[in-house]
Symmetry: D2
Subunit: 337 residues, 4 copies
């Protein structure tokens, strides 16, 4: 940690800072700049509330040198984590392709989706059963009935299953039915939910928040891992920017960068990121070329009849065409599907 003192800080103020640091077991070194005093401090950052140092008289700012996350960092573990969930392994050489409808609507719809995506090469089935909707007047999901359908469709096709959980109750229920529990973008900093996810017995798919920095996203993963669940899959799904032509802005440099910062697997969600069916195929390919370990894609047997997110859902033919272009691309990247 580096403490930059104000131009006009007094010797007493500098002494006070040094004493505070000493009390917390830090070792200090003072750097006399041309105009300014800077204090380098080495010690256990967990032992001190850094931000209050900034309120001490004479202090201009405190610059943290070390990253705040630990267990999820590359420095904690050099090799890639591979998450096993049902029949699928996420983070290894093979790309994980998770596909299925935004929401589980009916048995017929779900089975049609499951069979279609399985046939085209998907490895897991997604389906929303507890839907966090921005309008209180929208369809809110089939809940446990949906979970039952999802588990059955997964069993029939051999696909691993994924559903979003939104609170303690849905998490405890879903844990019994599906292979992967998803925490959505709007709950990425719902710290109660993160802690519960740390106690869950299933892997967690953690979506990046709409306006979460990479550091905040990794800190959210740290919450889960430090609470006991090491099986976390990160998912980039677009961030909120000034550009409104796409629903969000898919941040693929985050995918590449996060792979250097953490050992956890990272996948991408081109459907929610773009909100536009016609961009899903290009962004799927771009994500894989950027180094993503997999994709999560919305596929609906009849997008124009979907109860949610129709405009961004592929139909089975479109998904099949996408998968056909994905194979040579994965091969060019030295990966399998």
């Amino acid at each position: 940690m580096v403490i930059v003192m104000k131009l006009d800080s007094s010797p007493e103020q500098i002494e006070n800072v040094n004493q505070r640091l000493q009390k917390h077991g830090f070792q200090m070194q003072t750097i006399h700049g041309v105009k300014r005093i800077v204090i380098g401090a080495v010690g256990d950052l967990e032992s001190i509330n850094i931000s209050t140092l900034e309120t001490m008289p004479g202090v201009e700012k405190v610059v943290r040198i070390m990253k705040p996350y630990k267990m999820v960092s590359r420095e904690a573990r050099g090799e890639d984590t591979v998450v096993q969930a049902g029949n699928v392994r996420i983070g290894g050489n093979k790309l994980a392709i998770i596909a299925g409808p935004c929401a589980v609507e009916t048995e017929e719809q779900l089975y049609a989706a499951a069979r279609a995506v399985k046939k085209s090469g998907a490895t897991a089935l997604r389906g929303g059963t507890y839907k966090p909707r921005t309008s209180p007047y929208s369809f809110q999901g089939l809940e446990e009935e949906g979970l039952r359908l999802l588990a059955a469709a997964g069993a029939e096709t051999g696909l691993a299953t994924v559903t979003e959980v939104i609170d303690a109750e849905s998490m405890h229920t879903a844990e019994h039915y599906v292979d992967i529990l998803q925490i959505g973008a709007r709950n990425m900093q719902n710290f109660q939910l993160l802690r519960l996810a740390g106690q869950a017995k299933k892997p967690i798919l953690l979506k990046r928040g709409l306006s979460a920095t990479i550091e905040e996203w990794l800190m959210a993963a740290e919450y889960i891992v430090s609470s006991g669940n090491e099986n976390v899959i990160l998912c980039e799904r677009g961030i909120r920017t000034f550009e409104t032509s796409t629903r969000n802005t898919l941040d693929l440099s985050a995918v590449a960068l996060v792979k250097t910062l953490t050992h956890l697997p990272v996948i991408a969600d081109p459907s929610h990121a773009t909100g536009k069916r016609e961009l899903v195929a290009s962004m799927s390919r771009a994500a894989v070329a950027a180094g993503a370990d997999g994709l999560i894609i919305e596929v609906h047997p009849d997008p124009s009849a979907a109860l949610c997110d129709g405009p961004q859902s592929l139909n089975p033919e479109e998904f099949d065409a996408l998968m056909n272009t994905m194979r040579p691309l994965a091969a060019a990247m030295g990966r399998g599907i």
Copy 2:
């Protein structure tokens, strides 16, 4: 609702859209543009999933004309809502000044803060008891013990009390102790929590999410009101932008605009918005000049010893000086304190 057809849409496609609309009870009118067909549709938007219209062949985009929120809109209620909470009324001519520490730490700290802010003219006492922290390694709050202290300090000083709730449990507990339940920025789209807030017996202080649009913020309020709780106070607390000199960017035009869109009271939080003690006074004054119905300000008896948010907390002398400049300003705005 206006449906813009693609340049090359066929008569069949237009007919299909018209039939779909008709089935849902809409009345349609076709506008033949120079190059394009546009369909104006009048009817009950709740009866149809608008987004799936966009997936119909031949449709370029759908433009919604009406706002999606209803009960919280000015159109639903012309006069301003005044929320009564304990001894304080929020939304009327008098400004509500809520002040106190980021977190309840000790009895001594809380009482010192409560007495100081009361003396300087505050009308309510804030204090965090359940803290949503971005790091799992940070202080997480005193929970029910903190609530007891808060209620006692409120009773002694005659100040109404405010604390943040983060899940069902904290909400049910806090409801018994405090006058106003706060939903924080990171939970603004935690729809489960919003629904519970709609069933709570106390008014809700709803902070705007870091990257929430004004429309999403009002929809979050709609969740609460439509679930049964009409006493919602909106709070602008800064949005996330590219500018990093301040922690967030306080969006005061949102305060002014929201007052025209909703009948609910709107206050501002200059402490979290700026993250810098030296900007809190200017931004407090600016918020009131923009038309805010009140302020929520962090005050700590000794900011450099605070367990959280020290750098943005005023000490009692700074708060007192601010309140002295606030009175003539409020008067110039035709308001009291």
Copy 3:
């Protein structure tokens, strides 16, 4: 400057960094952290290309401690700069109120605007004569003919005059006619224009770029001042964010913060920031309460006939009403108009 070495940096790499710094006359001090080596370096930052230090093997990052701007900083000059332009002084106790139409359209329109704003208490007249328009198909301004009208209207009313310049030619022409030359948001990093502005004989009104950080804005002012023109007025006019309910987001904390970082005067433009007539009055008041030294407001005798920016222009009655509310507010802030 602080150089953070990588976890696995070798003694040779550290030695190489030290030698490079020494060659440029820096004095170094090595801090041995728990896991990492950090080098504190003191010297003349202009003598070295800091960014290339980051490319040296073993270096993780370089943290700059000092601000990059000098002449415009508070450290260079403690007291406020007051810019004299024609009859108006900007930056002193009195607020500067600059008002007038987006574009000079006709003699009649301009004189009507000039007389109206003068009568209501404005101190300067704005009017666009060279218009940077986002569409090549829009009205582009009256150019020198407009400048002549502006100068004449200024002379008749005793108002100082302001117009935007967009290249060398318009700057050289406008310099002869008006009292203040404006550089627009889209040209804030047109460094050629900034350099020319440094050689101009008239004060410069420098608008903040749509996505310029405060540091970049002050660096743009540094360009002008370091090129020879000390008379720079900064103008906050809204930044681009994800929120689309207002045209831009007026960043009033930037106004308050910039007053602490620089001695230059700072004004605000509520018209361009909001793009909505109904928000101009509130945001004008909020800007003054935030500490702005003045305002620049669009006023048109007949906004619905304006050739540009009608939706955000006040008519003379609205402007007069605003000025009437501004006087008690300025008094409450200890300022005059």
Copy 4:
């Protein structure tokens, strides 16, 4: 165009809007909604200042249906434009790979870069000669001397040449030496420069502005094309967002989307977008997978000695390795290099 009237608009106000539209030759159709009147208007949008319609009493908002750009739109021209510049064709099946140093520094440096990138398969050579720098104290470029070196290095290696121009003078000079004139991100809305680019005899490489929407970017291209120069190459180079881990956020969905909106070729700049050497290769691959027609990449013979942008420059070995991974990827995308 659709005009939405306010809830309480009067018949006179509706009549006034209709008359104004009629005067400009529009044909109108009134839609009576449940609560609101909406007017659909068909006609020549260039004949009316749409924004002033919004200021008419009773009007709530005006929704434009048609896109504001014409000549650059897909609707104006269905087939892809292929720009020929020196020996390189941009926009066809073959990817254009433009590589070279941020700035031309010396003959030795430039020739080393040119030979290296040629050998690895680049098709054009970039090199800055007029540098727009955010600090007035930074290296500003070799100007005409640099252009001479660039032209010579291009001639020797057979590479087409690209340099950035920043004003009329640099454009007129550079036109004689290089094959492609670049307009940088900070000048994307320097409309004077765009107009001059429209009269230039060389193709224009138009970078997207830091905070430019896709529509503004295409309007900037429209400026150039409508001024007479049809040879415009668009370049996505990252937008400014809240994320600070990368210098900018490379918006690859913009690349895919723009290809559907315009017939002009689109390339990507992973070097400026990320600002980090270690992300350049992944983002180059991702851009090609997203459908980009080419790349512009910074390569320097010795990045740690570079006068600018060292941290994001590849050295020749890194560039060669990247090109080796690019060939199978291009093949998988059905393209050549």
